[in-house]
């Protein structure tokens, strides 16, 4: 091994060490500690805790509350990945123009993203109440948040509304980076607007799609604050309780922190796997360009 290589490794180490240290302390170590807890029946208010091996993980397989939360999370994730992506792309295409009018609309769509999710939740709770403005305008008496068959979709709608601006901005950035020469060449070749979008614009938006999909996926899987404020996991047992919500309820309300840690580890594995699969599929599409 040459001295040059050693020097390069030393350089690398110096620059990488702070980041690695932070990552180790604040990401890897907590995960390791959580995994350790997940192998115990740790309850901070009922010591001492015992090592229970994989029993917590076994229990999860038949825990109706956890399985319901998994189903709720999957539905919510599907809504939040699809709706802001589709609607966000449509809006981005409409706003892909220059001028103050379009700039104002871009800012408008982005406002909900920077609002606190608690504020958004409180506002929407009032709007979707039985006698709220939504029912008033529609002339209906729909239990948007009180009907357990609807509440999850209402939550999905609220979260999609808040994240829409993020997707719009990312797609706009992608659209503005599409070379005009390509569009012009396609037009000269006789391609109409739809064909140009399908054959030129859409493939060039692959990186934006990757970012939006992965960010929405992770946002949806971690959904907690909207649920806490709007429905508290209800109405009834678990109709809107995501895994993140159940983890916190189990850990901090029921004090079963060993069991909650097992849920959190399973959630981590699911998010990591889903993100990896999504990234792999979407990146492959980018490479194929």
């Amino acid at each position: 091994m040459g001295q040059g290589l050693l020097r390069r490794l030393a350089h690398f180490g110096v620059f990488a060490a702070p980041g690695m240290l932070v990552y180790l302390c604040f990401v890897l170590a907590p995960i390791a500690v959580s995994f350790g807890y997940s192998l115990t029946n740790y309850n901070p208010f009922n010591p001492p805790s015992r090592f229970v091996g994989l029993r917590n993980y076994q229990s999860l397989l038949t825990d109706e509350e956890f399985l319901t939360a998994l189903k709720v999370t999957v539905i919510l994730t599907a809504i939040i990945v699809i709706v802001p992506n589709v609607v966000g792309l449509a809006i981005a295409v409409l706003l892909d123009r220059n001028g103050w009018f379009y700039n104002a609309w871009r800012a408008t769509f982005f406002v909900p993203v920077v609002l606190s999710s608690v504020v958004v939740s409180v506002v929407w709770t009032r709007m979707l109440a039985d006698d709220g403005i939504v029912n008033l305008v529609l002339g209906t008496h729909i239990g948007w948040l009180s009907d357990p068959d609807l509440a999850l979709y209402s939550l999905g709608g609220i979260m999609s509304w808040q994240m829409l601006g993020f997707c719009v901005v990312v797609y706009l950035a992608g659209l503005q980076a599409v070379p005009h020469e390509l569009q012009e060449a396609a037009a000269i070749d006789g391609a109409g607007p739809v064909a140009r979008f399908r054959k030129v614009t859409w493939p060039m938006l692959a990186p934006a799609l990757t970012i939006n999909t992965v960010v929405m996926l992770i946002t949806a899987f971690k959904a907690y604050d909207h649920i806490q404020v709007i429905t508290n996991g209800g109405p009834g047992a678990g109709s809107t309780a995501t895994i993140a919500f159940v983890v916190l309820q189990t850990g901090f309300v029921a004090n079963r922190q060993g069991y909650a840690s097992a849920m959190a580890i399973v959630m981590l594995v699911i998010i990591a796997a889903a993100s990896a699969v999504a990234l792999r599929l979407l990146r492959r599409r980018e490479v194929d360009l």
């Binding site: 993203v113 009180s146 990312v170 934006a208 309300v253 980018e286």
Partner: protein, 436 residues
């Protein structure tokens, strides 16, 4: 992909992520002055966990704290505010993160690991309290048994009753159903029952029916449940759930209101969205502040045979961390806060508490709703007809840790028709087994 495009996308992602990480934070603590003037020497700072409701405003807490710190200038108080009314959940978070407050209010001792974390008051320190063993766990009192609350009372709109032809408050359960039918026939919703993020407004009808169907027969039912000698699936408890389900099935409870949080539920009743409002005695404070205070009446949830019965609980006071660095200051503050005459008067006027302090009588200038609620309680005390309030117990007679949200969920499922009463009861037994 060009460098330019990558850079733009990366910057957008970083900017948005950074913003998202910072916007959701809310400050939960606000230092409270410890009186005017310069800080005395050897001042000891203690933290005090409070919670806010429509009745218990920031100004209420600040002035109550100031009265005590004016009296004891050697104590400085840092006020903490629980982000929701679930102060027990917040106290647990603080405890597990090493920030357990020195003094806290109405945190469920049974849920917080009282024996390890809370100071057990000595009998001689409780000499001023009417029920010195209120909320005891294994014979030890961790929470000052400072006040009594009756939960629920049934508040009603006199004008709506009159409009529906209900001439007097129901005295039997059959009369309650009859009143519901008359109100519904006139297009009025008989009961306002909310839920929302706090969920507890949903449980009040069940607290009432558990009192009439379960606790009336067996006052120590919860202790028996803890011992495993009774089950939620036993017929009496299932009957309590059935009565609530029947009210919803008859359309006397508007299922749409379950999305209303506590504040919105209260407003719904005050705005006439329903004629009856099962709620704790603390509602009397809001009732008296409202424009319709003279239109409000109160009665106890009736028993089948009309015998008097009222659920209530004595406890609800301050607790002190056993591991406080300033234990003596924390104890001194807690007792002074709890026994201060002005604080007691304000707790009556602001939160309609019934202070359980020897020699204390509520101020004469309380409103009509408080007086009616207090009289109802006094009558039931004289009739020896007060039982505990299911799901509101906080001592060794309370639900085990983690069960309260399950009870809220179960009663909501029954109201919504998602679960039959027997299924909801079985669910509670299953959850109890998981939690124990």
């Amino acid at each position: 992909m060009s460098h330019h495009r990558r850079a733009v996308l990366a910057l957008v992602a970083i900017a948005v992520t950074t913003t998202a990480c910072t916007v959701g934070e809310t400050a939960q603590s606000a230092p409270t002055g410890s009186g005017s003037g310069s800080a005395p020497a050897q001042q000891q700072e203690i933290s005090f966990l409070t919670f806010e409701t429509p009745n218990l405003t920031p100004e209420y807490w600040d002035s109550a704290i100031k009265r005590v710190t004016d009296k004891y200038p050697d104590i400085k108080v840092k006020k903490l505010v629980a982000p929701t009314v679930d102060r027990t959940g917040y106290a647990k978070q603080l405890l597990t993160s090493g920030q357990f407050p020195d003094v806290m209010l109405a945190v469920s001792p049974a849920d917080i690991g009282a024996a390890q974390n809370l100071y057990a008051w000595k009998p001689e320190e409780l000499g001023d309290f009417l029920v010195p063993d209120g909320g005891a766990i294994d014979g030890k009192v961790y929470q000052l048994p400072a006040n009594t609350q009756t939960i629920p009372n049934v508040y009603y709109r006199k004008s709506m009753f009159e409009k529906a032809g209900v001439t007097a408050p129901p005295k039997t359960y059959a009369e309650l159903l009859e009143a519901g039918a008359k109100l519904k026939a006139k297009g009025m919703t008989p009961f306002v029952v909310g839920g929302g993020k706090e969920a507890f407004p949903s449980v009040l009808p069940l607290t009432a029916t558990v009192a009439t169907e379960v606790y009336r027969k067996r006052p120590d039912w919860m202790t028996a449940r803890r011992a495993g000698s009774v089950q939620f699936a036993d017929p009496d408890f299932v009957q309590a759930l059935t009565l609530v389900g029947d009210l919803a099935g008859k359309g006397y409870i508007d299922k749409g209101m379950l999305s209303l949080d506590y504040a919105a539920t209260e407003q719904a009743f005050l705005k006439g969205k329903g004629a009856m409002y099962p709620m704790g005695s603390w509602f009397a404070a809001s009732g008296d502040k409202s424009d319709i205070k003279d239109d409000l009446g109160v009665f106890a949830w009736p028993t089948a045979d009309g015998a008097p019965l009222l659920p209530g609980y004595t406890g609800g006071g301050l607790e002190v961390s056993a591991n406080s660095k300033h234990l003596d200051a924390a104890k001194k503050f807690a007792l002074a806060f709890q026994l201060d005459k002005s604080n007691l008067d304000n707790s009556v006027k602001s939160d309609a508490l019934f202070p359980a302090i020897k020699g204390y009588t509520p101020p004469a200038d309380t409103g009509p709703v408080f007086k009616a609620t207090y009289d109802l309680w006094s009558q039931n005390v004289q009739a020896n007809a007060v039982v505990k309030a299911f799901s509101w117990e906080t001592g060794g007679d309370s639900l085990i840790s983690g069960m309260t949200p399950k009870v809220y969920a179960a009663v909501q499922d029954v109201i919504l028709g998602r679960k039959k009463p027997a299924e909801a009861a079985a669910y509670l037994d299953t959850e109890w087994d998981k939690a124990s």
